[in-house]
Amino acid sequence: MNILVYINSSNHLAKSALEAVAYAKKIGGTITVVATGSVDDATLGTLGEYGAQKVLVDRSVSTEDSQQVTRLIAKAAESTGAELIVFSHDLVAKAVAPRLSVRLKAGLISGAVDVPNANGQVKVNVFSGKAFGFVSVKSATKIISLLPNSFQPEKSGSACAVEAFDGGAGASVIKVVETKIPEGEIPLPEAELVVSAGRGLKGPENWGMVEDLAKVLGAATACSRPVADIGWRPHHEHVGQTGVAIRPNLYIAAGISGAIQHLAGVNGSKVIVVINTDPEAPFFKAADYGVVGDAFEVLPKLTEAVKKFRSTPH
């Protein structure tokens, strides 16, 4: 099977890009990557180590313009005879994959969490993670976007060739006015460890202890919805059904009740630790480890314990 994997990489190859290539490798076939973004050829060539046979790159395409990216991928799909096109389910894919589906009349499965089963059906999360479903595609060409952090990238091959490719994109109709990226923060969707807190923390002035723990762990910080709504924390930290959905390896929740809408965005976490004064808090039902206690005492103790652990060799 000819598989095309689209990668949007500005500055560095995101882990999600490696996941997408390794996912295609696991499905099996001839894998061509089509890439946009500023990453240099040598770095793009390392995608060969994850299974790519060749990388086609068009740096003139603006990833903000879904029409340009769609034209590029459609052209690459035609030139490689792609039967399957794989994306990582990120902001660009959410704009481009549906367009491509219409353009190529190719069924789209978004948010895949596994490779297709023996019947070609693909598992996805539905009802905000409260259930899963298996989707089949009726068209000959198929498109899958892979949920980040649901597939482990594995290295096996060696570097591959990188070729310039003219996507025939034309001028962009989307103008980027400004990009604001705060320095030094770990972006939440990419974070493997997340420390989160809710209304139980009583006020924004108490977030220091959340940040202290996040710092010693090298974790990102998150919060429940009311906390973002009252303005204690920035909106981009709000996780849950109506906020960011995350799938970190470790999610530590302090002073969060564990309402169903909160769980919906975090129940994909591999391990959940809950700290709450109320032993009946619903979050304990979804937790792997629970601490019934006051976050104001437990968080600093946990920070100290992590510090101690980090300073002793293992």
């Binding site: 903000e64 959410k94 899963f132 595609v137 604001k180 109506t242 480890y289």
Partner: protein, 246 residues
């Protein structure tokens, strides 16, 4: 300004999720349907705010059957001027988007808004599909939207930050949190909604491209392990040795 807001129904956020018919059908027993929160709170309300400042008309559209008229009336009560129901079961995103695009094609909208995804299928597909079918620019998951003349300025959350982009109308935008604040319909709105126009349109012939074959529920979690609040060393050890996450 002619604004079209796409709304879909979704189970109330507290609904218990279950399946019937050998896990092939969603169990609707006891499920209360609401307007998908992203459609209602962000797309619809931002659309209304824009209409209120710039003038014009806001139409809502849904692909669905007679039972879905309840969510249409809710959206009308919040302030939409009129509504369109395409009389069909929304079989998959492609089917739904194509129906909406067919209607939009012959009605010339300046702005088409959707929520970023539905909370039942979480696909993030319909808006981009409409944009492609109409050959329009599309901005996904916008958290802010301002219109100045024929130019739209939007913010999007990108990995680790925010990006500000501009595009010309006509345009398709999917809306995420930040766009607007939820509005509760008042008595006057609810009364007015009863008499606002609702057009029912026959569906176009469209083949769907995907199908849900089966559903399931995640395996039950094993019981939580409780740790003494005075023994955080034990928690750290478990996270390292047992869970292997630090």
């Amino acid at each position: 300004m002619k604004i079209l807001v796409c709304i879909s129904k979704s189970p109330d956020t507290t609904s218990k999720i279950a399946f019937t018919d050998g896990n092939k059908q969603f169990d609707e027993n006891g499920v209360q349907y609401i307007v998908n929160p992203y459609d209602e709170w962000y797309a619809l309300v931002r659309g209304l705010e824009l209409k209120e400042t710039l003038g014009g008309n806001l139409t809502i559209i849904t692909v669905g059957n007679v039972a879905d008229e309840a969510i249409i009336r809710k959206a009308l009560a919040i302030g939409a001027d009129d509504a369109v129901r395409i009389d069909a079961d929304p079989k998959d995103a492609y089917y739904t988007a194509t129906q909406i695009a067919e209607y939009a094609k012959s009605n010339g909208f300046d702005l088409i808004l959707t929520g970023k995804e539905t909370i039942n299928y979480n696909g993030s597909q319909v808006a981009g599909m409409i944009a492609e079918a109409l050959d329009l620019p599309f901005v996904s998951l916008a958290t802010k939207l301002e219109i100045n003349g024929t130019t739209a300025r939007m913010e999007q959350e990108i990995v680790g930050g925010i990006q500000v982009v501009e595009a010309n109308l006509p345009l398709v935008v999917s809306c995420a949190k930040g766009m607007a604040e939820q509005r509760i319909p008042n008595m006057r709105g609810i009364m007015a909604a009863r008499t606002k126009p609702l057009t029912v349109v026959a569906p176009a012939a469209v083949e769907e491209l995907t199908a849900y074959v089966e559903y399931g529920l995640p395996a039950a979690k094993s019981a939580v392990k409780m740790i003494d609040p005075n023994n955080m060393d034990e928690l750290v050890a478990l996270l390292h040795n047992e869970a292997k996450v630090i």
